[in-house]
């Protein structure tokens, strides 16, 4: 009994430390502070109103069709080799390659109110559209029908944090940081990229898997804020 008490006490202390220490580690912030962990599902809300900059905005209506289930990649965009997306935070530019063939190069808007993470990531799920909500006070935003969403993550940046490439219909200031961490694109560019990246679109929500790994995204540079 005398030997048992110290052993039990030590076990309890170790258990307590194991529980407390992880909670002291800074929590990674979500890209969209309200919607990030709650809702990563496809959502189409054509009657909803968007709120941005304290203004009501009519989001674009989305009418799903067979084209959204299995879109076709244009023949002139197909190259040979692995697909790879590069996002340069310094120049606010996105370049998409297949092997050495450039598929798309365009201006984007990355994180202004929260940094877009740097590193190598994989797309883990694509959604035809979803709702993104976050911020507070004057910075609060509620954006239904965000189009062509490609969520990415890696071992350091959890996929559940909601960082993504997606179309942005509420501003047109590409080439300059505007977002809360995501990579905003013109909707026509986001559509083009969405139809090209892996996993190959199968329905309105497409998850990557071992047979169809998500396209690699490399984000580098430094945002000029």
């Amino acid at each position: 009994m005398r030997k048992l008490v110290p052993i039990l006490s030590l076990t309890l202390v170790i258990f307590a430390i194991a529980k407390i220490v992880p909670s002291l580690k800074p929590q990674q912030a979500c890209a969209n502070s309200v919607s990030c962990a709650k809702n990563l599902n496809v959502q189409i809300e054509n009657d909803a109103t968007a709120i941005y900059n304290n203004q009501n905005i009519a989001p674009p209506k989305i009418y799903l069709s067979d084209k959204d289930l299995k879109p076709t990649v244009l023949a002139d965009s197909v190259g040979v080799g692995e697909k790879h997306i590069y996002v340069d935070l310094t120049t606010q530019t996105l370049s998409a390659y297949q092997g050495d063939t450039l598929y798309l190069k365009t201006l984007v808007s990355t994180g202004k109110w929260r940094e877009t993470p740097t590193g190598d990531f994989r797309i883990w799920v694509k959604l035809r559209a979803t709702r993104m909500t976050g911020g507070e006070g004057a910075d609060f935003y509620d954006l239904p029908n965000v189009p062509y969403v490609m969520f990415f993550g890696n071992s350091q940046v959890s996929p559940g944090l909601g960082f993504s490439l997606h179309g942005a219909y509420w501003h047109n200031n590409f080439g300059h940081p505007m977002s809360h961490g995501c990579v905003n694109m013109r909707p026509i560019d986001a559509e083009k990229l969405y139809n090209w990246v892996n996993p190959t679109t199968e329905g309105y929500t497409t998850y990557a898997n071992q047979q169809d790994q998500g396209t690699l995204i490399t984000i580098y540079g430094k945002t000029q804020i």
Partner: protein, 201 residues
């Protein structure tokens, strides 16, 4: 066959070849002319440049037509779905003055667009509606640069980068010494400026 006959046959063939070139291929004659014949300018006197709206539903096309001493800049907005095109702005300038289409020209809802004019050392920005709707005083376009100059005498307008939302243009300013200063929003309907706490680099 003797050598003179061979030479004669060679010259006959050569003469026939020349005749063929002149008779059958007249437009190739300039190739044989001793000096190049000046031809009409091969450069077209009309150039085109086009950009799509962010959602692809509209396009803005600039047609530059070279006149004798000037260039006419004409801007057309096309509704892609309806396949309808309208002329929304035109101006005649003397080179090197020019007008261009910024990448972020269209407002997010395609209701407005802005253009950038480089005139000597001054840069002017014009905003207009994409369907020719006049502004509140009947103007067909607003000169954002004029509004800015009247309000801010201790700043210069460095650049208008795009649209913060469907009604707000983003302006970056500099001090008179050329150092970066704060950013502004220009609100289209009220023609007013809003100073921002951050700079939109």
């Amino acid at each position: 066959m003797s050598k003179p006959i061979k030479i004669l046959i060679f010259f006959i063939i050569f003469a026939l070849l020349l005749l063929f070139l002149f008779a059958v291929l007249p437009h190739q004659s300039s190739l044989l002319a001793p000096t190049p014949t000046p031809s009409a300018s091969t450069k077209p006197n009309t150039e085109l440049m086009s950009i799509d709206s962010p959602d692809g539903k509209f396009s803005l096309t600039l047609k530059k037509h070279k006149n004798q001493n000037t260039i006419t800049y004409s801007f057309f907005v096309k509704d892609v779905e309806k396949n309808e095109e309208i002329l929304i702005f035109t101006k005649e300038l003397v080179s090197p003055d020019s007008i261009s289409i910024p990448f972020n020209s269209f407002s997010p809802n395609n209701k407005y667009l802005f253009l950038k004019e480089q005139a000597n050392t001054q840069t002017n920005y014009y905003v207009m509606s994409t369907n020719l709707t006049p502004f509140k005083n009947g103007e067909k376009y607003l000169s954002v640069s004029d509004f800015f100059t009247k309000k801010y005498d201790k700043l210069t307008l460095e650049d208008i980068t795009g649209w913060a939302d469907p009604n707000l243009l983003v302006l970056n300013t500099n001090t008179l010494e050329g150092k970066p200063s704060y950013s502004l929003w220009f609100e289209i309907s009220s023609n007013s400026f809003i100073q921002l706490a951050t700079r939109f680099n």
